[in-house]
Symmetry: C2
Subunit: 243 residues, 2 copies
């Protein structure tokens, strides 16, 4: 079984207090940019890898998807998803995304939000997604930005008075496992370069249609710490089409 922090009760409780857990899509800083690059869901079969609370699954279904499968490694997340974002045509399944398998041409759209940085082998994952997708199908995902994952701690660099000096980057070309502190708990993540994220897609037969580093939306800048998010890129959104 892959590492699964979200079934740890302390961690899950903290996660459930986050704005994105409480408010859903509108509570996620990157949502307004992500929504812009989503494909038309009408009549489509959708897979959401690492679906968490299922907000994107519900959104896809509400926007015309005929069938939505949300998968997540955490049973606790899926419990919350079934509670908050259930509906006819939406199915939730507990599985590590590396262990999923589907026949060729099973989906028209594959989504994944902030989950691939938990996956060790991204190129292999992309190969499998390419097989599951129908030609012309869309693959849209968000990940933590390589700038954000390179150093490991995912924290600012401070002066002796605790004031932020800058964000540190190190070991950029050394891909692999890092331990960060997230919500006060140690969380393991995989750093990879932008080259690996984007060139892998190109090599596996995808066309890139969107590459966006979302800035915090103006209306969120008054939230604690949000203005500092203008100082570093934290996320990367990618939209691609299988050719």
């Amino acid at each position: 079984m892959k590492e699964n922090k979200y079934d740890n009760p302390v961690f899950f409780e903290k996660y459930s207090q986050m704005l994105r857990s409480q408010k859903g899509l509108e509570g996620a800083g990157e949502w307004s940019e992500l929504e812009k690059i989503l494909p038309d869901f009408a009549g489509k079969r959708v897979l959401d890898l690492g679906c968490g609370y299922g907000w994107h699954c519900k959104y896809a279904r509400d926007h015309g998807a005929v069938r939505v499968l949300g998968t997540d490694i955490s049973e606790k997340m899926l419990e919350a998803a079934r509670l908050r974002n259930a509906g006819p045509g939406i199915e939730y399944r507990c599985a590590a995304m590396e262990e999923l398998d589907f026949p060729e041409d099973s989906f028209d759209i594959v989504l994944s939000s902030l989950a691939f940085h938990y996956v060790r082998d991204f190129p292999q994952m992309v190969s499998r997604i390419a097989r599951w997708l129908t030609p012309g199908g869309s693959f849209v995902f968000s990940v933590e930005h390589p700038v954000f994952t390179a150093y490991g701690s995912q924290d600012w660099y401070y002066d002796e008075n605790g004031k932020i000096l800058h964000f540190p980057v190190d070991n950029y070309y050394y891909e692999g496992y890092r331990e960060a502190i997230f919500l006060g708990e140690k969380v393991g993540k995989y750093h990879r370069t932008l080259t690996t994220y984007l060139n892998t897609l190109l090599e596996k037969g995808f066309r890139l249609v969107h590459v966006v580093e979302p800035q915090p939306p103006a209306e969120m800048l008054s939230l604690p710490g949000m203005r500092d998010e203008m100082r570093r890129p934290m996320m990367l959104l990618v939209g691609a089409v299988k050719e």
Copy 2:
């Protein structure tokens, strides 16, 4: 006239001592990766924006280009180019790239090596390049990586003993002018995000075919400071095709 540091005699002298000036393509750390993403030059009309010493112009001509125009803002650079990389079918012209103009469909390939970070308005430059290129034509360029240009100083962050701690990133989403020290001289450059580099191409009708952050080649790792280049991305190489 745009800022042109290269006609400053002190700066030019220092630049001319760099490995990439002395040894040409083989002296440039990114060349082995750049060469891999160059298009086939046979029978093609090539424009090189910010051609410097003309190494890429000569390479294009030696690989079958029928006509090569190299442009640079520095007369001193072009003098060196005419001396070292002249040849029938190669023309060098002194001009700021923002002030160039050509009819539609003038070139099959547009190259630019480490020059766009001197250009204030990248989207406008891309629009003009798209017009000059023939449909199906290639646009291949290198720039300093957004991680490298964001903070401004382009220098590592050191401890009190002068040991490198990490590379600092700051003000990432605040695009615009920065002053760095390069070869001991103040040089003005424009920082822009990865989103601006890549999404601009997509919006202006280019297909992305390569996105590469070149690592230092193994045989160069013994050169002073080169091993540290594994710790930060310094350059970004992009290959695109006009559709």
